[in-house]
Symmetry: C2
Subunit: 146 residues, 2 copies
């Protein structure tokens, strides 16, 4: 891993603490929706699966696509909207940002923003795209049935 | 408008120049895809429509949703994937960032990042969600037909 993967290394090392804080934040943010859709444990599992996607070795390109795809399928089955997924993931990014840069200069904070954009955002964008693609695939299959 | 809308004001004032630079960037980024899908003028129209969404007065809540929704419908009809739309919009954000903060301190740059997140990202997220929702609506309609 290159040096910029310090973010992924941090997430890996502080996983439990980050997931707990993430769940707290999301429960406060949108309490009714989450508890209606999924149990606490189920939600923790989703959060951990997301982190698994971040720390996965994406040199194994083919597998990566399948992993993201099966994760988005699960979210679709749970009835999560793209808007909700984006809110969750944005919230996670902010938690990581505050923990990793809270004592840093603004210069370091800006470096973090660009590194996050370079290393984490592409994975997030793949996830969002796969989510939309899964819906599109469903439409195609339905068209065949029509 | 509050003071944080200085970003939107900047976009409004520098619209033509920003659109031209944006189109250049996207043509370099993904030349084949864009020219295959849409003419230069068509592409400029889409870019301008996106900027119209940014500078729109979102106090008129009902209209706003319709506007975003009809824009995403157009993108779906053009065959644009969510991934491509996200790349385009990210590229636009970077152009605005570099122009608005190129002579600024990192402190000011960080302020811009948070202000962009506060004022522009919610509109982008609505757009992405509407895109996914349009596909979901199509599925529901097809299910009725099945």
């Amino acid at each position: 891993m290159g040096e910029s993967n310090y973010i992924i290394q941090y997430i890996q090392k502080n996983r439990e603490h980050l997931v707990n804080e993430w769940i707290d934040k999301l429960n406060n943010l949108n309490e009714k929706n989450i508890s209606n859709i999924i149990s606490d444990q189920g939600f923790a599992n989703i959060c951990n699966e997301y982190i698994n996607l971040l720390i996965y070795d994406y040199n194994k390109e083919e597998n990566a696509k399948n992993r993201i795809s099966s994760f988005t399928q699960k979210l679709i089955q749970l009835g999560w909207t793209l808007s909700f997924i984006m809110d969750c993931i944005t919230e996670f990014g902010k938690i990581v940002f505050f923990h990793m840069t809270k004592d840093d200069s603004e210069k370091k904070q800006m470096e973090f923003v660009w590194d996050y954009d370079k290393w984490i955002s592409p994975i997030n964008n793949k996830l969002f795209s796969q989510y939309a693609a899964s819906w599109q695939k469903t439409i195609s299959l339905q068209k065949i049935a029509l």
